[in-house]
């Protein structure tokens, strides 16, 4: 029964992939090799699609693999398999946190955790900056400093920064407005 196996394989992935969507990747390669449901080349395409559609990448990958393997039912089953273990784990952790949140030791732990969390977020943000605003690939080929900067993208970033931080009327808009506007600008100026 392929649906049952799909659920089980993704349950395992969800249980052992620690640290976000990209952590599921090694597991997906492993599944491809063991089951032959899809090839590793197909995985590369899946990553591209997952990265260019909304939603958590891990979930996108599970849906895609599920669809390729067993159609619509496969999509749903693979995704449920992926998220079931983590929902159970977090419900247990949340229960424990609720009980011990005010304990001085837990409070002290979180005092150290918050700057850590922020440091990880900032580092992840820097990765996106490198990808979106700079042509590191082109620069390493040509060695011309001007090639390093993606001028169009930097200009858009500057405009967005001003709009989201300093223009009173725009500042309070939902982030999706800026995301959609950026997509339109991207197409209009062929980023």
């Amino acid at each position: 029964m392929i649906l049952l196996r799909l659920f089980f394989e993704f349950f395992k992935t969800g249980l052992f992939a620690v640290g976000g969507g990209m952590a599921t990747l090694p597991f997906l390669y492993d599944i491809a090799e063991r089951t032959g449901w899809y090839t590793t080349e197909m995985l590369a395409d899946m990553i591209a699609v997952s990265e260019s559609t909304p939603g958590p990448i891990g979930v996108n990958m599970a849906t895609y693999v599920g669809y390729v393997t067993a159609g619509y039912a496969g999509s749903v089953i693979a995704t449920l398999g992926l998220i079931t273990p983590q929902i159970i784990v977090i419900l247990l952790v949340a229960r424990a946190m609720k009980a011990f949140r005010d304990h001085p030791l837990v409070d002290a732990g979180f005092y150290g955790l918050r700057p850590c969390s922020l440091g990880l977020i900032a580092a992840a943000g820097l990765l996106v900056v490198k990808l979106a605003l700079f042509n590191t690939g082109l620069y390493s080929e040509t060695g011309v400093l001007a090639d390093l900067f993606n001028v169009k993208a930097l200009a858009l970033a500057a405009v967005l920064l001003v709009c989201t931080r300093y223009v009173k009327k725009l500042k309070s808009l939902h982030p999706i407005v800026f995301i959609l506007a950026s997509a339109v600008v991207g197409i209009a100026f062929s980023f």
Binding site: N60, S75, T79
Partner: protein, 180 residues
């Protein structure tokens, strides 16, 4: 029941607007969960992110489960988690059934190059906003810098940072360095 529906819708909105993984979701999540519904504080969101780093699975779903549980118990956790994944499941199903080379369409590529720029700015704003809550004294500033620099230059599992920083927080509090 109404609350569960609200949870589902709020997290479905988060799911549909998240481009590029769990960290990119932070600005949207702040908007929906902190500003709009007041379901959690900014500090709590950061705590959830930290815990989500060292528990298995997708971080977006971890945060959804946390917030859902806080608001409406176990069932809330499940409903919020399903909410956050529903849009992606529908979108991917649609794309895989009609377009096999979606990611190669030039317009799609350009649109996402534009979106990535926006995501940079949104994450930058979110980091500035959270800064005040996380970096409260000299010790936390040092912790932030260490984690930031090490994770930029080395490939270290976030789990180590999380475990060591929690231990550090306890040690620093014990030593009486906290707040200075």
């Amino acid at each position: 029941m109404k609350l569960l529906w609200e949870l589902f819708c709020a997290f479905a909105r988060v799911g549909v607007m998240t481009f590029g993984g769990g960290y990119a979701m932070l600005p949207i999540l702040e908007r929906e969960v902190v500003d709009r519904h007041g379901w959690a504080t900014e500090e709590e969101l950061m705590d959830y992110y930290a815990v989500g780093q060292c528990t298995p699975g997708v971080i977006a779903v971890n945060v959804a489960t946390f917030v859902g549980f806080k608001i409406a118990g176990n069932i809330g956790g499940i409903v919020a988690s399903i909410g956050v994944v529903t849009p992606s499941v529908l979108i991917i199903m649609l794309i895989s059934s009609i377009l096999t080379n979606f990611a190669d369409v030039p317009a799609v590529k350009s649109a996402f190059a534009g979106i990535r720029v926006c995501v940079c700015v949104l994450i930058f704003n979110a980091v500035l906003k959270l800064w005040k809550k996380a970096v409260v004294d000299k010790a936390t500033l040092v912790l932030f810098l260490i984690v930031f620099v090490l994770s930029v230059f080395f490939k270290i599992s976030p789990v180590w940072f999380v475990v060591l920083c929690a231990a550090d927080g306890i040690a620093l509090t014990r030593m009486g360095v906290r707040g200075k």
